[in-house]
């Protein structure tokens, strides 16, 4: 995805990179807020009546189950749709249109390929957060975190720079995967400590 929104590519399409990127980040954030607040609102009528400690335990169990899927335990894998954003949009629409459209789809988290169970657990946590506002905060965080890495290609103006970015992404793929596992483990500890303390 990073390679799809570069100053190099946007210049070739006659678009301004910052306009496309702004629309992309905005779309991703809007989608995150919509999904998060929606889940928070729906969940508040059910989970809102349950003790927060119980909800923390459920989130912890969700993270643990997700990590088991992420590492391929029991031959299982993270369930996902196979769909990706339509590459044709970039040639057919203005930069801000496809940027916003891509952002909406990617910020929703689950309408394109899902690579990590933490996406599902994030939405589970939003549903268990107890309110639309808390869900919106969680969703906005996801949407922003999903889109912000695009800023790392702001300096790509030549093909060799794009190749370098691709190489960096490949080099960091495994560490990023392990870091996600680490965050999951920390989150479980934090949630269980919180549940036990209160």
């Amino acid at each position: 995805m990073l390679g799809s929104i570069t100053p190099l590519g946007e210049r070739g399409r006659g678009s301004r990179w910052w306009v496309t990127v702004t629309a992309y980040v905005l779309g991703s954030t809007v989608a995150g807020v919509a999904v998060g607040s929606g889940l928070g609102f729906v969940g508040s009528s059910v989970a809102g009546h349950e003790p927060v400690t119980a909800r923390l335990v459920v989130v912890s169990l969700g993270v643990i189950a997700g990590l088991l899927l992420d590492v391929g335990s029991f031959g299982l894998r993270v369930p996902t749709v196979r769909r990706q954003v339509d590459e044709g949009w970039r040639a057919g629409y203005r930069g801000w249109v496809w940027g916003f459209g891509y952002g909406i789809q990617l910020g929703a988290g689950v309408v394109t390929v899902v690579t990590t169970s933490t996406v599902y657990v994030t939405w589970l946590a939003a549903a268990l957060s107890g309110s639309a506002v808390a869900g919106a905060v969680i969703g906005a965080t996801f949407g922003l975190a999903r889109a912000i890495p695009v800023l790392s290609v702001a300096g790509v103006r030549r093909p060799d720079q794009l190749l370098y970015v691709d190489a960096v992404l490949v080099r960091w793929a495994a560490p990023a995967r392990r870091a996600t596992y680490g965050v999951g483990a920390i989150v479980v500890c934090l949630a269980l400590l919180g549940a036990a303390r209160w």
């Binding site: 923390l56 899902v114 946590a125």
Partner: protein, 32 residues
């Protein structure tokens, strides 16, 4: 349970969820 206790656990839940959201969002950079 006092309101303060409930507030603290809710904050913990939101902090946990936000940490998950950051990890999930950044990790999704490596989606195909």
């Amino acid at each position: 349970m006092s309101p303060g206790m409930g507030s603290a656990t809710t904050q913990t839940l939101v902090v946990v969820a936000v940490a998950l959201a950051v990890a999930a969002g950044l990790r999704s950079t490596w989606s195909p």
